[in-house]
């Protein structure tokens, strides 16, 4: 019954973080996402009110992977509205919390720390090296390339979460994520390294090439301790002095 609402839920998933706050994080967003389904499932005003209040509690996960939890919760709510079994309510509360943490960690490492920088560095690499391509290609490649994965996760996650419920991790296990993660990571390192060689060694090897290499190592180490904004000002000062010495 609820699967007819998937397009509406999918659209509302884009608003998951709209009312993000320090107290309950994505709680109100989650309620906003599943509200139309709850209205459909519970025709009795009291039951509906209870269902609404069930989903205003603390919730926080990765905004793309949240769709899996939405799928699981919708299926459970549907079951509860049909059977009225109290243990399903306990399941809803437990699974919302139990799935949120691991999926947040997965999303952070896979999307924020890997997929987004990787698609960005691929687009930037094209910007610096692809003189034969139209000038707008880097932006196009970044936007299309990046969004393929989030759209897939958001849509399929909703469907598979609804289908597999608690066993949704079995669906994720089928992707061999650690292998994919390591391969993409190596690809990203290679792209960054080639970009460095292209920009700072391409015109010839000399004392300044070694200085660039030393700066690269120094800033990789500093990046662990200092924000990029501070590093920007530091690099401008170092670059300015080096430029004057070079002249």
């Amino acid at each position: 019954m609820i699967d007819r609402f998937f397009f509406q839920i999918f659209w509302r998933m884009f608003f998951l973080q709209v009312l993000w706050n320090f107290q309950r994080m994505q709680a109100l967003g989650f309620f906003y996402v599943i509200k139309p389904c709850l209205e459909k499932l519970y025709s009795d005003p009291e039951e509906r009110k209870k269902a609404f209040l069930r989903h205003t509690g603390f919730f926080n996960t990765h905004p793309y992977f949240a769709s899996l939890i939405v799928g699981v919760v919708l299926r459970k709510e549907e079951e509860y509205s049909e059977t009225g079994k109290e243990e399903i309510l306990r399941d809803i509360k437990n699974w919302k919390l139990n799935l949120a943490g691991p999926l947040a960690a997965l999303g952070d490492s896979l999307i924020w720390s890997l997929w987004r920088p990787l698609t960005a560095i691929a687009a930037i690499f094209l910007f610096f090296t692809g003189e034969d391509f139209p000038v707008y290609y880097p932006v196009l490649i970044f936007l299309v390339g990046y969004n393929l994965l989030p759209f897939f996760i958001r849509w399929r996650g909703l469907i598979e979460g609804y289908r597999y419920q608690e066993a949704v991790f079995k669906w994720l296990e089928g992707f061999s994520l650690p292998t994919i993660y390591n391969l993409l990571r190596l690809f990203g390192i290679a792209l960054a390294f080639f970009l460095f060689v292209y920009l700072f060694f391409f015109s010839g090897f000399g004392i300044f090439s070694l200085i660039h290499l030393a700066l690269l190592i120094l800033f990789v180490i500093l990046a662990h301790y200092v924000s990029v904004e501070v590093l920007f000002y530091l690099l401008v000062i170092i670059g300015f002095i080096l430029g004057m010495v070079r002249a």
């Binding site: 793309y64 924020w112 707008y136 960054a192 690099l235 401008v236």
Partner: protein, 210 residues
């Protein structure tokens, strides 16, 4: 294109940062290209976007962490660079690009604090919406969603508009440097900027996740 229209555009792009979608149209690469496109110098806007994307490639609002606003910072840095590169003699691009970024970063930090305060205030909505549900007004959440989007859009647009002119008059007061040695130093500092970006990428990928 006038600044008012660009402000509206910045307001819309800013929503993508956290509140709507996260399709990454709020990333510097895209914001820079859009600013360039709408202010008549797409290649320059894209170039600035690429440099700023490299700098902030590891940075994105996640959970309680909110970095300096990349939309406002990129839009301001791009526009100041484009405008002043047009007004000044050839060879001044690097100077205005660095000056633009250096001035835009503190603005992004100020806007970040506004966003954090907004998140603190939003904690009060939890109780209001729950009371709304209890008193038979569950649709209150739809109203809050619309208001939150509108507020974020208007805030971003106004902030950009205000600081664009503020920065514009500050940069106008700074005389164009004429010393060849000074400009060589600036050019070299600008040339080195992608290096900082590459260190950020390496730093992100070299940290193996468990």
């Amino acid at each position: 294109m006038n600044i008012l229209t660009l402000s509206v555009l910045v307001g819309f792009l800013g929503l993508d940062n956290v509140k709507f979608g996260q399709f990454m149209v709020s990333r510097p690469l895209v914001v820079g290209a859009i600013m360039g496109l709408f202010s008549g110098n797409f290649p320059l806007g894209l170039r600035m976007g690429v440099l700023l994307e490299l700098l902030w490639i590891r940075v994105i609002p996640v959970g309680t962490f909110y970095p300096p606003d990349t939309v406002i910072t990129t839009a301001l840095a791009c526009l100041w660079t484009i405008v002043f590169s047009r007004l000044c003699p050839e060879g001044m691009f690097a100077f205005y690009a660095l000056l633009g970024i250096a001035l835009a970063i503190p603005v992004g930090i100020v806007y970040k604090t506004i966003q954090i305060n907004d998140r603190k205030r939003a904690s009060g909505y939890n109780r209001i919406i729950e009371e709304g549900i209890e008193s038979g007004q569950p649709d209150l959440i739809d109203h809050f969603v619309r208001m939150s989007l509108l507020k974020d859009f208007a805030g971003g647009a106004f902030f950009f508009f205000l600081f664009y002119y503020g920065g514009y008059y500050i940069i106008k007061l700074i005389p164009c440097p004429s010393s060849a040695l000074f400009l060589k130093g600036i050019d070299y500092a600008f040339y080195l900027l992608p290096l900082l970006g590459i260190t950020q990428v390496l730093n992100s990928f070299l940290r193996k996740k468990k």
